[in-house]
């Protein structure tokens, strides 16, 4: 080739000092990071082993089979002093899950109501919702838990119980007493009926959707399923001769016996968690609804869609897209905040396991690791579930 233009000598021009070479730099930094971190973790590890040895702390998870020797205020499974530390872990875990699930449900309801109320055209209602959100959101949760707990403790003793429903639902300083349902023979049929109704409803909803997509005909699937889920078990219950009795709480001596009791610690924690988290959910809902452009509503009205279906079919599905991701992190926050239960003595995972069990056995590393693992798994699984749901709701763009 007789090209007169000489190719510049690439090598000699781009020859930079080796410490300015991006690849070299990146590898050096990473190797450095690995070395520093490795040294850091190695030091911690060896220190921990040394310290535990010198303090006579055994390692390993064998302690989980030892008898715990302490009782727990509230337990969803059978538990007393003779059970093992492994059982205390389960009891704490179930209590945490219980208050988280119940709290999430109430917080969602209150939050959605308040979020919509803040956008109400009625001045009074909008202002009340604003005051609620702005005040409770800016007060620490721990303080709110203490406040509700202090309020619970000012309730009268069992003898002077507040009768919410005469002799059936009672409120006093020891908690909320309710009649407990006691299933008799044949109650299993009711459960089977419920299961059948749920399966039938799912099938019905799928069929309705398919038929609507094929023919355009509507079928009131949701009302029918609701009727089935309520009606079928109820019918079976009546046919089977009502195989259930109620166990009423009865005052014996200074306390109530029988029935179902919700401890005040649970109520205080539940209320505080719900009311606090609901303020954040209200803001998320409000932002979500405002994010749906007004043109959408107008277009729906122009098509002759009435107000109700406009909200249900046009505004809410679009608002949900904006609402779901932050809503997920609020649910996670609520689950993690339920660990504040320790402060008022509700026996949650942190309280019974990281508190009492750790104090008794001294096995800090194993117990802290197990507790943190539980919360990590909980967080990661809730966010995985919500990501899946979010993907289903996300906008399908062209």
């Amino acid at each position: 080739m007789a090209d007169p233009i000489q190719q510049p000598d690439v090598d000699s021009h781009s020859k930079t000092a080796i410490w300015n070479d991006p690849t070299f730099r990146s590898i050096t930094f990473q190797v450095l990071a690995v070395v520093v971190l490795g040294w850091f973790f190695y030091t911690i590890f060896s220190n921990t082993l040394h310290n535990m040895e010198s303090r006579g702390i055994t390692t390993g998870f064998a302690f989980l089979d030892n008898t715990s020797g302490f009782g727990i205020l509230m337990s969803l499974i059978e538990y007393d002093e003779t059970h093992t530390y492994g059982d205390t872990f389960i009891v704490g875990l179930l209590n945490t899950l219980l208050v988280s699930v119940v709290g999430i449900i109430t917080a969602t309801i209150i939050g959605f109501v308040m979020g919509v109320a803040r956008l109400s055209k009625n001045w009074l209602i909008a202002k009340i919702a604003t005051v609620y959100v702005e005040s409770l959101r800016n007060i620490p949760l721990l303080l709110q838990i203490f406040f509700w707990y202090a309020l619970m403790r000012t309730l009268p003793p069992p003898r002077g119980s507040i009768q919410l429903i005469q002799d059936a639902v009672l409120l006093n300083g020891r908690g909320l007493y309710m009649p407990a349902p006691v299933p008799a023979d044949g109650f299993g049929f009711v459960n089977i009926a419920l299961l059948v109704a749920v399966i039938a409803s799912i099938v019905l909803v799928k069929w309705t959707k398919k038929r609507q997509e094929a023919t355009g005909q509507l079928f009131p699937a949701y009302w029918t399923s609701l009727g089935m889920i309520v009606g079928l078990p109820l019918g079976v219950f009546l046919i089977a001769g009502m195989p259930m009795s109620l166990d009423y709480p009865v005052l014996k001596g200074f306390n109530f016996v029988g029935g179902m009791r919700i401890i005040p610690e649970f109520m205080a924690l539940w209320w505080a968690l719900s009311l606090y988290t609901a303020t954040f959910i209200a803001e998320i809902v409000r932002a979500g609804i405002l994010a749906v452009s007004h043109g959408q509503t107008e277009a729906a009205h122009a098509l002759g869609i009435p107000n109700g279906p406009t909200l249900r079919l046009v505004v809410i599905p679009q608002a949900m897209r904006v609402i779901i991701p932050p809503l997920t992190s609020q649910y996670l926050n609520l689950a993690k905040n339920s660990s504040l239960a320790t402060a008022i003595g509700y026996p949650d995972l942190v309280g019974v396991f990281m508190g009492t069990t750790l104090n008794q056995t001294g096995q800090a590393v194993e117990i802290v690791a197990m507790t943190m693992m539980v919360y990590l798994v909980m967080s990661l699984s809730i966010s995985a579930l919500m990501n899946w749901f979010n993907k289903r709701m996300a906008m399908v763009e062209r």
């Binding site: 055209k121 009625n122 007060i139 303080l143 660990s339 990590l376």
Partner: protein, 366 residues
């Protein structure tokens, strides 16, 4: 021909203007709203009257022990007045209160002007509040130098401790969060993996377990004989925890900056740190001011958790005072006071962030 003269416009109907119009539009526009307004209004008024009566009209404001409050049915604010020093200073020796007072004053002086647009030298004040202020306060409060009596951290408490925890947490969590966020977007896999692991680990666990960890496990991690102060351990825990949240907020801002900005800064030949510091971060941080301030507010509220590991912040001093038999049942008064303290700071911060957002609103948003 007569020239056409339109009649003057009629005024709007009386029911659409003035007080009546406002009432009609905002409270009684439809029958449903009318019923709602009446029911809710009745509920509000009927619950507000006893609350106001308790808090103001039947309340006791002066006195030194429980006898002052036995007469009335209302709130016992005398209790707050009596204990205000403990709530503010904790168990700090009374003779040395002036040291904390100077710190409070410096806090007000270095942050107060930030709320006024016209004030000059705001930037220098900001620099001072991040550098000089913490150093001065540290020496003033802990003593042990310049002829001041040394006061151990166990005696620090009350509102002073709460503010201290929040301040140090905020000042430390922001830069740490920025570094983590940049690391999470780094092209170096080792750094990125480490940052993701760090962020997700701290975000996945409750703060209280972090504090527990810092109080029971940190001593195990350190070489024998070396020990941290309890307050410092709590501070490390809070900072780690909040910087993970901060990192996620800032990552949101970094992602919102269009690719062209990154490419343009590279085309100008800026190094990584220069392009981040001069081009990307100023835009990204501005975008996420609301998120950053929300993290600050969360941090401020989370400082209350230190009472669980035995530090005496304002909530802990209130907790301890209301169980004092010298006063009767004053739990509600104590909690209302503590709530008000927190509310003032948190609400102030959120309002400040809103005004800052409006002021820096220079593009990006339509």
């Amino acid at each position: 021909m007569n020239e056409f003269k339109p009649l003057p416009s009629l005024p709007p109907p009386a029911s659409l203007t003035g007080v009546v119009g406002w009432l009609h539009k905002n409270l009684f526009s439809t029958p449903l709203y009318t019923i709602l307004t009446l029911v809710v209004g009745y509920l509000v008024i009927s619950s507000l009257i006893p609350v106001l009566d308790w808090a103001i009209f039947s309340a006791n404001f002066t006195g030194n022990d429980r006898s002052a409050c036995e007469s009335g049915t209302g709130a016992c604010w005398a209790f707050i007045g009596n204990r205000i020093n403990i709530f503010a200073y904790g168990s700090y020796p009374a003779a040395e209160y002036w040291r904390l007072d100077i710190c409070f004053a410096l806090l007000v002086l270095s942050f107060g002007p930030q709320f006024f647009d016209k004030f000059p030298y705001k930037m220098w004040l900001g620099v001072f509040s991040l550098t000089g202020f913490p150093v001065i306060c540290f020496y003033l409060i802990s003593g042990g130098a310049f002829g001041l009596e040394s006061i151990e951290t166990g005696k620090w408490g009350g509102l002073a401790l709460t503010l201290m925890l929040a301040y140090v947490g905020i000042v430390a969590a922001l830069p740490f969060g920025i570094v983590l966020a940049l690391g999470r977007r780094s092209e170096m896999p080792v750094i990125r993996t480490f940052c993701i692991a760090f962020i997700e680990l701290w975000r996945g666990v409750p703060l209280i377990s972090v504090l527990f960890m810092s109080s029971v496990m940190l001593p195990l991690f350190l070489p024998e004989g070396m020990n941290f102060d309890k307050l410092l351990r709590a501070l490390i825990g809070i900072t780690m925890f909040q910087s993970a949240y901060m990192a996620e907020v800032i990552r949101g801002g970094l992602q919102a900056i269009p690719r062209g900005q990154y490419e343009a800064s590279k085309a100008l030949g800026l190094s990584y740190w220069k392009s981040m510091g001069l081009i990307i971060l100023p835009q990204a941080l501005k975008l996420v001011i609301p998120g950053i301030v929300n993290t600050f507010i969360a941090l401020f509220k989370d400082t209350t958790l230190v009472l669980i590991i035995g530090l005496l912040d304002i909530l802990a001093t209130v907790q301890a005072s209301i169980t004092d038999p010298e006063w009767g049942s004053v739990a509600t008064e104590g909690y209302v006071f503590a709530a008000l303290c927190f509310w003032v700071f948190c609400f102030g911060m959120s309002r400040y962030s809103q005004s800052l957002e409006r002021k820096l609103h220079t593009g990006h948003k339509r």
